[in-house]
């Protein structure tokens, strides 16, 4: 599916934009081993706001079982978590909370936006007064998974993609400009 991204501009996503901090948190002395460790031990924060959270639970469940990758140690406190999986809609009231949680996480930290809502507000993009049009207005996002909700496999796919990204040691900006993810 070839899309000319130069020609089509991303829809201009208005809405109250919350300033996101810079994305320069990766340690400069990157080392393959450390990246290996980091990529294989992504502990998610238990953060599920709505429907997508159920699919996230399914990923934790027996059939999909993300513990195979070592992700099962879901931590309730941001101090111990490595990755936020934003599973669900972010509304204006929640945005500062999300920001605070992200800020309180210890570096290095990663963000996955799961589902249409987290990417862009999805089903609630038009005619709603309270939905943040995309979690990346609030915090920087590493991987986007479209779908409403995405299949559990899609989340696994995204996690593997994130692993690949960490292993490569690329920063968020470098990756954003790279070609679409393919497997």
């Amino acid at each position: 599916m070839d899309v000319n991204t130069n020609k089509i501009q991303a829809t201009d996503f208005p809405g109250q934009v919350h300033e996101a901090p810079g994305a320069n948190f990766l340690v400069s002395t990157l080392d393959d081993v450390i990246n290996w460790a980091r990529s294989n031990s992504l502990w998610p924060l238990t953060f599920a706001t709505s429907c997508c959270g159920i699919e996230m639970m399914h990923v934790a469940g027996a059939k999909y079982d993300f513990s195979r990758f070592g992700f099962e140690v879901a931590r309730a406190t941001p101090r111990q978590a490595d990755v936020i999986i934003i599973a669900g809609t972010i509304v204006n009231k929640m945005a500062p909370v999300l920001k605070r949680l992200y800020d309180q996480m210890a570096d290095p930290k990663y963000v996955i936006a799961m589902g249409a809502c987290a990417i862009s507000g999805g089903p609630f993009f038009y005619n709603t007064y309270s939905v943040v049009k995309g979690a990346d207005h609030v915090i920087p996002v590493d991987v986007y998974i479209p779908g409403c909700p995405p299949r559990p496999e899609a989340l696994l796919h995204a996690l593997i993609a994130l692993q690949g990204k960490i292993k490569a040691g690329l920063t968020r900006d470098q990756l954003r400009d790279s070609s679409p993810l393919s497997q």
Binding site: P21, T77, L101, D103, Q104, D107
Partner: protein, 116 residues
């Protein structure tokens, strides 16, 4: 190896913990922001100091525990020699136990062992 081994172990502990923590301190530089140092409370700014005086419902348990703890201390020498001393030791400890058990029953009756 004797008691000196305790020192060795203490140093081993310090080395282990200190080594682990200091690596992160030395090599990982984290991002700074105003929120980071705030206490975590499910993403809501915390109100009030956590160090307010605090109603400890368990305090009476600790009191009674202390008494029993001391009792336990006396039991150790007793237990070691009970086989040697024989029936006399049993009699003595039964008296000892009995008296304390009265206390226990009293505490129970008074509801001191009921939580709150």
């Amino acid at each position: 190896m004797g008691a000196a081994s305790l020192l060795v172990l203490i140093f081993a502990g310090i080395a282990f913990a200190g080594g682990g923590i200091s690596i992160a301190l030395l090599f990982v530089k984290g991002s700074k922001n105003a929120q980071k140092g705030q206490p975590y409370e499910c993403g809501i700014p915390s109100t009030g100091s956590p160090w307010n005086q605090f109603n400890v419902g368990y305090y009476l348990f600790a009191l009674i525990f202390l008494i029993f703890d001391v009792e336990l201390v006396f039991m150790y020498p007793w237990a070691v020699v009970v086989k040697k001393v024989g029936i006399m030791a049993l009699v003595e400890i039964v008296i000892f136990f009995f008296i304390l058990f009265m206390g226990f029953l009293y505490a129970h009756k008074k509801g001191a062992l009921k939580w709150m």
